[in-house]
Symmetry: C2
Subunit: 199 residues, 2 copies
DNA sequence: ACCTGAACACCGTTCAAGT
DNA sequence: ACCTGAACACCGTTCAAGT
């Protein structure tokens, strides 16, 4: 089973979720297709286990002696990096095949930082939600960005911009739309908002 | 062509992107499968046109007399609602089949609000990115939430929670993880951060 | 117990042909 | 010009059988 999941992760990294078919996976492991159904009941179940397999490696740093906002930024950065390392994980999360428990250690860690910082549980849940959504939304967009040729010019990507003066201004400077610093920009914004709320 | 796209949107709303096959679409319109390839070169191209078709209805309110932060919240709310109305659009955006120009009027409108508010173009682009990512991330998560039975209990969703005390506390109160107010919470946080930055 | 090929009901798309 | 059925190379999965 371990070997099957490793092979699946390899295929996922290589060509994304679209390239990961049961038949190709069987070939990669050197088994008949139907052998896979001895390990798993459906493809969906296999993808779920694959997600858990890949996310188990995400370990939040143990730095509860640091200020809570730094802990938060570092923990979310860890998640962000996991998504960058295996972009296919994002596809699995989107496809909703990753079962709940696979992410519990991350969820618990983030909530813990917020609660220990002094937020009541209601606010902590709201904050947790907006932070995770932000990291997740960024991962999805990042995936898009990487799939586009960097030689692509603004005009080629957006079409004629004469009717959209503001966009034209922006596209000339940032054909990539999301600069590498955008992740940190929004994250700092969110954490700053939380810090004010705590006082 | 119009009729084909309307039928496609109907299928998309009914069963999501997975139910939208060329063969089923042809049946829905009452044509042979291959007739569709007279309108469009590939399925991907058809999905792209479908995305543009659905997003053309998103019109940002014309309220440039209002404070910029209110304009911003309202415009992003408009986008948020479009995603709620046709959750399938989110699948199209994720699948990266929607071509650039389809969203230009929204991009331009949002950038305009920020620039007129007084942000320099660099900051405006960063802010734009983080705001849009947030709305988008929320839409993806919302889609997940809706696909889960509401009778589902926290324990059933997350598995045993004894090792995750903070999560247990949160899950007991919010088995849904993202309450309806989470969208507004994070958005206000982001806008508040921007307001401070402007001064 | 562990593995598997043949077969079924689906896909998107090419090709050649029908009106 | 507009439409289409047959065919091809793929899917995930059922079923019955092989060691």
């Amino acid at each position: 089973m371990e070997e099957v999941l490793d092979a699946a992760l390899r295929l996922l990294d290589r060509g994304g979720i679209d390239e990961l078919s049961m038949r190709r996976l069987a070939d990669e492991v050197g088994l008949g297709v139907m052998t896979l159904y001895g390990y798993v009941r459906t493809k969906e179940e296999l993808l779920g286990e694959l997600g858990a397999h890949a996310l188990a490696h995400v370990v939040l740093p143990d730095d509860s002696d640091q200020p809570w906002d730094e802990q938060l930024v570092r923990a979310l950065g860890e998640l962000h990096e996991a998504f960058s390392r295996h972009p296919g994980i994002v596809d699995l999360l989107i496809a909703q095949v990753v079962t709940g428990p696979a992410l519990n250690h991350v969820r618990n860690g983030l909530l813990g930082i917020l609660v220990r910082a002094g937020f009541d549980i209601d606010t902590a849940v709201e904050a947790f939600g907006s932070l995770v959504l932000y990291v997740f939304g960024f991962a999805v967009a990042e995936r898009t960005r990487q799939s586009i040729e960097t030689t692509d010019l603004a005009e080629a990507r957006y079409g004629p911009l004469d009717d959209f003066p503001y966009l034209k201004l922006a596209a000339e400077r940032y054909p990539d739309r999301i600069s590498p610093s955008t992740f940190g920009f929004g994250l700092r914004q969110l954490v700053e908002g939380l810090r004010r709320q705590l006082r």
